[in-house]
């Protein structure tokens, strides 16, 4: 049963990576996408330079580099609806396996690309902005960046399930979510500047805890237990999001069966 599920995830991921290869070659990914990412992170880091604050430069560089993993993982919101364009949704509902498995696997290319581009942005730009990452200890943050990407991906799956019903909103929802996370998760300004209720909201959303753990590791000012606690919280947010997303996909399929919204060929 588990191996069946993994096989389905693997093929769904292969489908996603095949889509990805039609968008990027290695060269266009580096010269197009990665260059864009480096510009974005540099843009925010330069604000720290502008106010002549090395501490804030480091804060912005780390926050915005990690945010790239989240941003790219949120492309899952839009690409979940690609399954409808393929016309495979009714066939997937008619198949014995769960539609949720396919939808969970078909966008992991963004997670992989997001983790790679965020990591490269962090390690390539830090020397340029005079940020000492304290290698090799800093390499520990690579799996933490992947964790932030994964928890955001799972959160994006929830939104993807909603967008399946309103395809035209796919980019609006993805972009609004990304901008909101950039604002409140501690990427640009400390979470403590926001009102209590917004801090509480940030704490149950992805990025917040993972980014705190990454900052803790890179600054070497956070104890191991506290880092572990933040990592655990980020993992919990991701797992809970995945659970909600799976329920959302099941609900989409069932409500579609009732309403007739699942068209053959849709």
């Amino acid at each position: 049963m588990i191996s069946d599920g993994l096989r389905i995830l693997r093929y769904a991921a292969a489908s996603g990576f095949a889509d990805f290869r039609t968008i990027y070659t290695v060269r266009t990914w580096i010269t197009g996408w990665l260059f864009r990412v480096l510009c974005q992170v540099s843009f925010f880091a330069l604000i720290g330079r502008l106010i002549d604050s090395p501490e804030y430069t480091e804060y912005l560089l780390i926050g915005n580099a990690v945010m790239i993993a989240a941003m790219e993982s949120l492309f899952v919101v839009a690409s979940t609806s690609w399954e409808r364009w393929t016309g495979s949704v009714p066939l997937l509902i008619a198949a014995p396996a769960s539609l949720a498995l396919v939808l969970c696997g078909r966008s992991v290319q963004w997670l992989a690309s997001g983790t790679a581009s965020a990591t490269l942005a962090l390690f390539l730009l830090s020397p340029l902005f005079g940020v000492d990452l304290r290698l090799p200890m800093a390499l520990v943050v690579i799996p933490l960046i992947a964790l932030v990407g994964l928890s955001t991906y799972c959160f994006g799956l929830i939104l993807g399930g909603l967008v399946l019903r309103a395809d035209s909103l796919r980019n609006v929802v993805g972009n609004l979510t990304m901008l909101s996370l950039m604002a409140i998760s501690g990427a640009q300004v400390p979470v403590s500047v926001w009102p209590d209720w917004l801090q509480a909201l940030s704490a149950v959303l992805p990025v917040h805890h993972g980014l705190a753990a990454i900052r803790g590791v890179l600054s070497a000012e956070m104890g191991f237990t506290e880092v572990l606690m933040h990592v655990g919280m980020e993992a919990i947010v991701g797992t809970a999001s995945l659970g909600v997303a799976i329920l959302g996909f099941k609900r989409f399929a069932e409500s579609g069966r009732r309403s007739g919204a699942i068209e053959f060929g849709s």
Binding site: I8, A12, S15, D19, T22, T86, R257, I262, G265
Partner: protein
């Protein structure tokens, strides 16, 4: 009724109504009342195991709605639908492994994956073990003439090849009931003929096939029995030979450059239902009896007319004849 039941499909009083909420009228606060449309109206139908059963009807007749219900993609508003004895609403986990669905057109395939990857993917979705899935995939690719292109991306395939891959995808789970929803739509004649050959092979294997089409010739060629459906109502189930008789009974003869005197003589031939003359002087003779077409053709050839052809009526035209003769109301 169990999986060994002789009935592959059993449908009783099946109704599906679609309700669509409507927007407010300009300047009004109240929403307009929802609009409802009955796609299937108390249909009762049985298909024995091993039969190729045609669902014949014009666009919007309700054929696809019935297929969607039988493949568990849609829940009926009322009535019962069973596949090999399992209720399609509550026993989806039992029904789904038994049913394969093949849609017409190009959608439903992962065009950026290869044919082999597509089939392996769907074999996983039908919970087949990897080795069994690989073996079945190889066999299907060979059987459907796709083995030479098996490892090429589907987006490079012709329409006919994609449709064959669709059929392979529908068969990869080894279903006992295969639902083919207008499988030859958009195919060129040669590809459609090849596809029909494949369907005949499947019939020989003893699979139950439910085929929707609005091509009467296709239904006549492939089906053991044909159910006529229109505006959500079942008009009746007929032997395909009866359809052949309808087709030949309402054949049409078209000719150009026919002298007026000859047209008058054609009008008087027994069995000629009508003669229409278009703006370019082309005549269309509608016949309604055995041998009438031959008599009309003979007159035209004897009269020196060389530009002429015969054609079979469209499904809609046959419906008009049928429904007219039965006194049914066309919605």
């Amino acid at each position: 009724m169990t999986e060994s039941s002789p009935l592959a499909v059993a449908v009783a009083d099946l109704t599906r109504t679609f309700v669509r909420s409507r927007s407010r009228l300009p300047g009004r606060l109240k929403r307009r009342p929802p609009e409802s449309r009955t796609a299937l109206d108390a249909i009762t139908l049985t298909v024995p195991s091993g039969e190729v059963h045609g669902l014949l009807g014009p666009n919007g007749a309700g054929k696809t709605t019935l297929c969607k219900i039988l493949s568990t993609v849609l829940i009926p508003t009322s009535g019962i639908a069973k596949v090999f004895g399992h209720d399609v609403v509550v026993s989806t986990t039992r029904v789904r492994p038994l049913v394969g669905v093949v849609l017409g057109g190009e959608r439903g395939l992962y065009t950026r994956l290869t044919a082999r990857q597509n089939l392996m993917y769907w074999s996983a979705l039908y919970r087949q073990p990897t080795s069994e899935g690989a073996e079945r995939t190889a066999k299907l690719l060979e059987r459907l003439g796709l083995e030479e292109r098996a490892d090429e991306r589907v987006e490079t395939f012709s329409r006919g090849m994609k449709q064959r891959l669709h059929l392979a995808r529908g068969l990869v789970g080894n279903p006992r009931l295969l639902i083919l929803d207008e499988p030859t739509v958009g195919l060129d004649p040669a590809a459609a003929r090849d596809f029909r050959g494949l369907v005949r092979q499947l019939r020989a294997e003893g699979r139950t096939i439910l085929l929707t089409t609005h091509d009467m010739t296709e239904a006549e060629e492939l089906c053991d029995r044909v159910t006529l459906i229109d505006s959500g109502k079942l008009l009746g189930t007929e032997d395909p030979r009866t359809i052949g008789e309808w087709l030949s009974a309402w054949e049409r003869v078209t000719a150009e450059g026919v002298p007026a005197e000859l047209i008058d003589r054609i009008r008087k031939v027994e069995g000629v239902a009508g003669v229409e003359i278009d703006s370019e002087g082309r005549i269309t003779v509608e016949t309604a009896g055995d041998g009438t077409s031959a008599a009309v053709l003979s007159l035209l050839v004897d009269g020196g007319v060389t530009s002429l052809s015969t054609s079979r009526p469209s499904l809609e035209e046959v419906y008009l004849h049928l429904i007219g003769s039965r006194g049914l109301n066309v919605g």
